[in-house]
Amino acid sequence: MKAHATPSANSQMSGQTGVLARFGIYIALGVAVIQTVYPLLWVLFGSLKDNQQLFANPWGLPTSLYFENYVQAWKIAGLGTRLMNSIIVTVAALTTIVLVSTPCAYAVARLKFPGRNALLLLIVAAMLVPPQITAIPLFITARDMGLINSRIGVAIIMAATSIPLSVFILRSFFLGLPAELEDAARMDGAGRFAILFRVMLPLARPGIALVVIYQFIDVWNEFFLAFLLLRRPEVQTIPMGLVAFFQEFDSLWTLYFAALVITTLPVIIVFLLMQRHFISGLTAGAVKG
């Protein structure tokens, strides 16, 4: 965020804040960090202990590293299959979201066509009707279309429910692009498709990236629709696999910890690497909107 650079309240305030007050603030922030991180570290430590160590010393660091948990958890929880399923669903859903939302967002932002206002109204209204509310008819509809237990089917349904927000975000990106570029291309004799694909899409890339990052987290972590529509174990995604593993086997704590680390750590690492983009995208939307 550019807010770091602006001479707003922060720098001056912290300059005038007393040493004691600043000490208090850091203590409070320390508490915030510890209450977030400690449970996460606890899972990581637990995943490296054997059962005996876990119960003898539930709090502390592992005394020896027991990587066997990871091998066992991977096998017993069937994480290989689940990971594959999650990748299939996520890739299919994200592709659909981008391919369907981007052209529509451009059209809604730039073109005049009959029914455009009705479509905008529908998009806003659809954001207020999350799929949880229509779970029952959605299940029946998917069943009648033969989409139960279909990973691609579920991906398309997830995409459909994500289209309103995606179009909305992308539309504001297209609205912000300068009109001259489009006019110049048109005067050079560029056709409609050329303008869209050669001129507008490259400029809208930051918007597309924002949509992809957000929908990735959403789709990758999605549980409700997967729970509703993927009933057979061999097509289930990671979140469902975790729940099943937890419920089918009793008290394999160290293995649960390992499975949780395997499935959660990659996303946390991706987030930490991209967190600046992530957070600035989020705040730009909120502060402007």
Binding site: M1, S8, A9, M13, A21, I25, L29, A32, V33, Q35, T36, V37, Y38, P39, L40, W42, P58, S101, P103, C104, Y106, A107, V108, A109, L111, K112, F113, R116, L119, V129, P130, I133, A135, I136, L138, I156, A159, A160, I163, P164, P178, A179, E180, L196, N221, F223, F227, L228, P239, M240, L242, V243, F246, L260, T264, I268, L282, T283, A286, V287
Partner: protein, 303 residues
């Protein structure tokens, strides 16, 4: 930036009917099939007695009337309200508090902000499983921690005690989202000009007055966004966390409308009644949202 230098085109100024419709066709088809159609079809289903397979039998509004006498549904509504009020207050108060703390320091801000945002990126399932171990009565982190601090008397079966289980779930929901709300509030705080606060300080306003009279009113658009996000989160996105932590138990004490609805549909195979629950939920969320928007509008005019 280019944006300010160049002319902004008013929305939709190029008349191109065929091309516009063509570009939107896939979106219209998907929205029609999986958003609009289920919404309409669900209402039709909710007016019938139906097991999902045999012929539907029209029963008028009987499903809706049944809601008022259904003990589990009423518990679920009560829990949704508890969940809504508590998560809304706690997420926003703690979110603002964390944002104010972050705004007060320069060093370490990005680090703390990133760390407290980590739970936001985790799935409800992962968060739920993590906390079911924190709450574990035998070797869970929370009870062990109370022992260490000499507070053993407070030890509980956090998810097994019907009187407190719903509050334990609320705590998890708040834990997951505080970092998210803090990020939004921090961005809002950084748009407040320092002069305002300086001027107030010179006029002798203390820190509390500056917060209540200047900072919070100027934050009201951000508060509005956070509240609306919180409302839909509390009503509609709480299935995962409840399902993973308690499945609505013990003895339905943590049932929310969505868990009751899914149980009705797939354990009791009464699709019509379950669909009616979905509609009732939609109606309540809609009314609460409209009420809040009206309230915030009125407040903002008054400010």
């Amino acid at each position: 930036m280019i944006k300010t230098a160049s002319r902004k085109r008013p929305q939709g100024s190029i008349a191109d009917a065929g091309f516009g419709l063509l570009l939107c066709l896939p979106a219209i088809v998907l929205l029609g099939l999986f958003v609009v159609w289920p919404f309409a079809y669900g209402f039709w289903i909710s007016l019938h007695a139906w097991d999902g397979f045999s012929k539907m039998t029209w029963n008028g509004g009987a499903n809706y009337l049944r809601l008022f006498r259904d003990r589990i549904f009423l518990i679920a509504i009560e829990n949704n309200v508890i969940f809504l009020v508590l998560t809304l207050v706690l997420k926003n108060v703690l979110g603002i508090a964390l944002a104010l703390l972050l705004n007060g320091v320069a060093r370490g801000r990005a680090f703390v902000r990133a760390v407290t945002f980590i739970p936001v990126t985790m799935s409800f399932v992962a968060v739920g499983l993590l906390w079911s171990w924190v709450y574990n009565p035998v070797f869970g982190l929370l009870n062990e921690g109370l022992d260490v601090f000499g507070l053993g008397a407070l030890k509980r079966s956090w998810l097994g005690d019907a009187n407190i289980a719903i509050y334990s779930i609320v705590a998890v929901e708040v834990w997951k989202w505080v970092g998210f709300h803090a990020v939004l509030y921090l961005a809002g705080l950084q748009t407040i000009p320092a002069d305002y606060l300086e001027a107030a300080k010179l006029d002798g306003a203390n820190a509390w007055h500056r917060l209540v009279r200047i900072t919070l009113p100027l934050l009201s658009p951000i508060i509005f966004i956070n509240v609306i996000l919180g409302v839909s989160g509390a009503f509609v996105r709480n299935f995962d966390i409840v399902y993973v932590l308690t499945k609505g138990g013990p003895n339905h004490s943590t049932e929310v409308v969505l868990t009751a609805m899914i149980a009705e549909a797939f354990q009791n195979t009464s699709m019509g009644y379950a669909a009616a629950m979905g509609y009732a939920l939609f109606l309540i969320v809609g009314l609460v949202s409209i009420g809040l928007i009206a309230l915030m509008r009125a407040r903002r005019v008054a400010l």
